[in-house]
Amino acid sequence: MFDLTGKNALITGASGGIGGAIAKALHEAGATVGLSGTREAPLQELAAELGERAFVLPCNLSDPEAVAALPKQAADAMGSVDILVNNAGITRDNLFMRMSDDEWQQVLDVNLTATFKLCKGVLRGMMKARWGRIVNISSIVGATGNPGQGNYAAAKAGLVGMTKSLAYEVASRGITANAVAPGFIETAMTDKLNDDQKAGIMGQIPAGRMGTAEEIAAAVLYLSSQEAAYVTGATLHVNGGMAML
């Protein structure tokens, strides 16, 4: 249904479970994809799997210079950046009373500040093209909070406010900015939970299961499409009913 032929998409965190699924979904819809991430090997693997229309763009988002350079690298490789998916994120969980300034700062730097800079970096091209799609991956905990994740929740809630402000500014130029807020998704991050933790989480999910990376990718694909042109400043919650917001 959604055709992204001729569109160029930059996806951060493409070496991870959700990012990889997003890249595959956009690629399958016809987009050229720029795969960014810190670890180059999984990016190369994914690019090889996708074949044509895939570029590997390694970038460490905690390095401000690398962040500043990424939009141009992506535009040089693909010709433009029409779709930006800010998916990369890190966690440095700790109880509030034990959280160090460094744990706080690292999470804010990568999850919020790098996203701001990447959005800013791709806007010029999108404004000129009078077309653009920005999809920022937030999280359910940005809306609900989560013990041990004061830093992560702050960054993910911050993304939502930032996305809405940006959406206001650029709506008249054919650019949309939206957020997708995943609930609990089967990834390497949630694999680390023990069975008791998983059972506890399941009890809170009306759907009775964790979501899949593909289900997040489908939401991103929709928000990246021409069909979603009238959707902007929205947060699409994909959480199996865990929080009905």
């Binding site: 010029r124 404004m127 000129k128 500014e169 650029v170 008249s172 130029r173």
Partner: protein
Amino acid sequence: MSDIPDRVRKIVVEHLGVEEDKVTESASFIDDLGADSLDTVELVMAFEEEFGIEIPDDAAETIQTFGDAVKFIKEAS
């Protein structure tokens, strides 16, 4: 060099969809030519490309009128 005002005027006319004779020396992009703040950012982008110059953000903020733009570009190029 001497054609700078004409080239700037052409960009302004095209971007803001205003009559050429409205684009006077003292015409303010926002107050007189109907630009919004995002239009002014786009105008600066267009000037940068047309003249192959870079206009830093703090300088861009001082470019309020057609005359300001011409003066800045003359000095920069």
